[in-house]
Assembly symmetry: C2
Homo-oligomer: 487 residues x 2
């Protein structure tokens, strides 16, 4: 019998559920064109809903053109050809999409670590995430910021915005960067869907002259992926405890031409190292001498746990226009809100604006305005104070546990949401991962971050979302397995 | 004297303003390293703020590493080297970014109509927008949806999500498409930052075999731009009153190979034409015979003003997997929320997911969840009913005014937020635009939408955001200018 498979689910207006049910039936050919529908009274009995509900559903279906009504005769299914009927003979075209994929699609899949990672079973202690701990989120302030902004200009926020970004946020961020010591004259700002879109836009805007990029080794794995997707050869320069090795940088610059350098000077991913002030000055001088643009990733800058403020490279560069700074609050505040920014020479931004428009029109005005109001209300300082205290505690706890349990050569990291562990050369953290995952603990093998296939003896431990007792237990398990592997 | 340029602005905590002021001074070298700051009492007098405010500001500055305190001696500026000091000798590097731009950057700028359009002076009557009328937005329901969702899982929403999309929204949209008659088996869905990102992802995923695309002529100008940015040659097929001319399609298919077809079957942009059910069936048969994938733009589908529901091509294609449907609520609901979706063969989606992740990690979970809750609460039906009634009224008013005032050959459009006007061949709407803009009226010249440089005798009039009296006045002015031009 018809209409006997109707089931109500909670939290959705009942008349809409009745309407959806009938609409699907009509659209898929379960009710044929001009077939009479039950009267509202009949259907209300069949579906066990009120008659008013059925009337509302029929009215809505008529509005949408799925049924028509003849006064005194009742309602009838409209001819919603040409949705294909199930019983029609089938000449279905089955394309082999694999044969039609671009190199980009294939490479993006190949380099997609999220598809290749070990899936954490329930109860697994996972050190793979460097996302913030959502328990720290001040939801009430987020709600307040949203409601504040909606009251001021809700209608504007929900309509189209500008490719460059939401003006009040742009002005706020320009000021924010000025407060970090950046000389903003001659520079301009573009809002992006987080760091990743920002980096993608810059990669699309730059001419590939030599097809070569210089960066730290190891470095941010998403950056490696996107550089490879754009066909760049990557020269990774080894890290020292105070940042990239300048002698090796100079040597590389003498031997080869580079299109640009990609650098993470503060709380570097994955090593957590902060480049020293002295190195920053010398690095800028070197890059100036060789006329090399720098793309600076400032993603973690705010998560400093001790010491003086260190200005970003774009501040050290003064009035120079060769640093392209990409910022984001994704690690600091809320990753679910996809907002980042590029601060760079105004001429470059002028072109980036057009690529941004072609790629995604503009970044969600809702997200931008919510973030703006949240910042304007003075929440960042309070949140950072709380978040820093908590992450610093966890960071120290993690380091202490590692020292106690893991027979490693070095632990690095001065801030941020992770530490980086190096074993002796020859040790294989992928073998360690295999053992640990069988014992319910996973982490990120460090070779993911290396530009040259090395780093097999390293691993990254993200602690931001791991509970204290899991940190100690997980690290103990890793330590035991490592000791076993070492024999 | 120092500290005399401090000015308070409203709506931002005062201590943050004091902190920002001092931070900038320190970061930019206005206060040197180890220079003593005024006591909290002194500064509170200098800045005319409370002493507690200054104490809070100093505490925050110390947290951020901009100052340090010696007990009993006071607070001192930290050494925030290496932000460049204004008075240091300058060896600034000035790169010529224009010399370093990719072809993509240059072409994106060239094809960027937003940069080239006539700027509307204040008071101008503008028919250029096809954005929704924000007066129709039901802000209270949007707020409610946000608060509902935040209460349920605010912490989850603000943290990282998945590249494919926010699960509840994906399931909702899959059901939504099924209710339009789509056979979803073997298909999958990916959430994007609106139609434009969706189209971009598809263009990046498809292999360029012949470098040729077939589409309606005229067609959506953003699609033309992005096809050109990807290096495609475009074959535009002329439109008839019931959609693309099938004879010409067949002829083109016989003469040439195409990588895919880009089509807007419902409320076509810019002509507003709806492809007839019969044509849809035949078109699908043709494309099946020639093994051509179809990229379907469903952007305007919901803005139907009369007649029966017309199913999208992907519904007509039944179990075939050759239609890639890109949907969006940007024209129907809120463009400020950048959410669209791709419904296509599951294998294609598998690869698109990796490109999406490489491009922008994922679409804002906040936007997705707000949209989901808004839809779940049953608002779309109510909103559409109201919006359709209003737009239909404006649409009919616009058509009536055109018939009365504009000496044109044809007006097309069966729904949506605009009408398309054709004059006799030889008439130049760009000349008309020049005259009209001097008289305070602007519109979009139709040649923007043509794939082959023709269409000089056409124009698009968007009416959604123009008040009734401005519609009549604007169209009268256009009509007078047109009559003048015709001599």
């Amino acid at each position: 019998m018809m209409f006997n498979d109707f089931k109500l689910i909670g939290d959705r207006p009942v008349y809409i559920q009745v309407k959806d049910y009938l609409q699907k039936m009509i659209a898929q050919g379960g009710l044929l064109a001009d077939q009479k529908l039950p009267s509202t009274r009949e259907l209300s009995e069949l579906l066990h809903v009120s008659r008013n509900t059925v009337i509302a559903a029929y009215t809505s279906l008529e509005d949408e053109g799925f049924i028509y009504t003849i006064r005194g005769k009742g309602s009838f299914a409209a001819a919603v050809i040409p949705a294909r009927r199930c019983h029609e003979p089938s000449h279905d075209l089955k394309l082999d999409w694999k044969q039609r994929l671009s190199g980009t699609a294939q490479l993006a899949d190949e380099l997609d670590l999220m598809k290749r990672g070990i899936r954490a079973a329930k109860g697994t202690i996972s050190f793979t995430s460097i996302a913030p701990d959502e328990k720290l989120f001040d939801l009430d302030q987020v709600k307040r910021a949203f409601l504040d902004r909606m009251s001021i200009e809700g209608d504007v926020l929900l309509n189209y915005g500008y490719a460059k970004g939401y003006k009040p946020l742009m002005e706020y961020l320009l000021q924010y960067m000025e407060n970090k010591g950046v000389n903003v004259s001659g520079k301009d700002l573009l809002i992006t869907n987080g760091f990743t879109e920002g980096f993608e836009l810059v990669l699309s805007a730059l001419q590939k002259r030599h097809g070569t990029v210089l960066c730290e080794n190891p470095t941010h794995n998403t950056a490696i992926k996107n550089l490879k997707l754009h066909g760049y050869d990557i020269t990774g320069i080894e890290m020292e405890s105070d940042g990239i090795c300048l002698d090796k940088v100079e040597q590389a610059l003498q031997e080869q031409s580079f299109d640009f350098a990609f650098l993470i000077p503060s709380y570097h991913n994955p090593t957590g190292i902060v480049m020293s002030p002295e190195k920053r000055v010398k690095l800028i001088e070197l890059m100036t001498a060789y006329q090399i643009p720098i793309v600076e990733d400032g993603f973690n800058e705010e998560l400093r746990y001790s010491g003086a403020h260190v200005a970003p490279l774009i501040a050290s560069a003064g009035a120079s226009n060769n640093v392209v700074y990409i910022g984001s609050f994704s690690k600091v505040l809320f990753p679910g809100i996809r907002v980042g920014w590029i601060l760079a020479d105004h001429e470059l931004i002028y072109y980036l604006e057009s690529i941004k428009r072609a790629r995604s029109i503009h970044t969600s005005t809702l997200d931008q305005s919510l973030l703006y109001q949240y910042l304007l209300n003075g929440n960042l300082d309070k949140y950072l104070k709380r978040a820093r205290a908590e992450y610093k505690r966890k960071y120290e706890w993690t380091k202490q546990c590692i020292e106690e349990h893991i027979p490693c050569k070095r632990v690095s990291g001065d801030g941020g949401l992770h530490v980086f562990v190096e074993f002796e050369q020859g040790f294989k953290t992928r073998e360690l991962l295999k053992m640990c995952s069988e014992r319910g603990v996973i982490f990120t093998p460090g070779d993911n971050f290396y530009t040259d296939g090395t780093g097999q003896h390293t691993m990254r431990l993200g602690f931001s979302r791991v509970a204290d007792e899991d940190i100690s237990q997980g690290i103990r398990i890793i330590g035991q397995a490592a000791a076993q592997l070492m024999g």
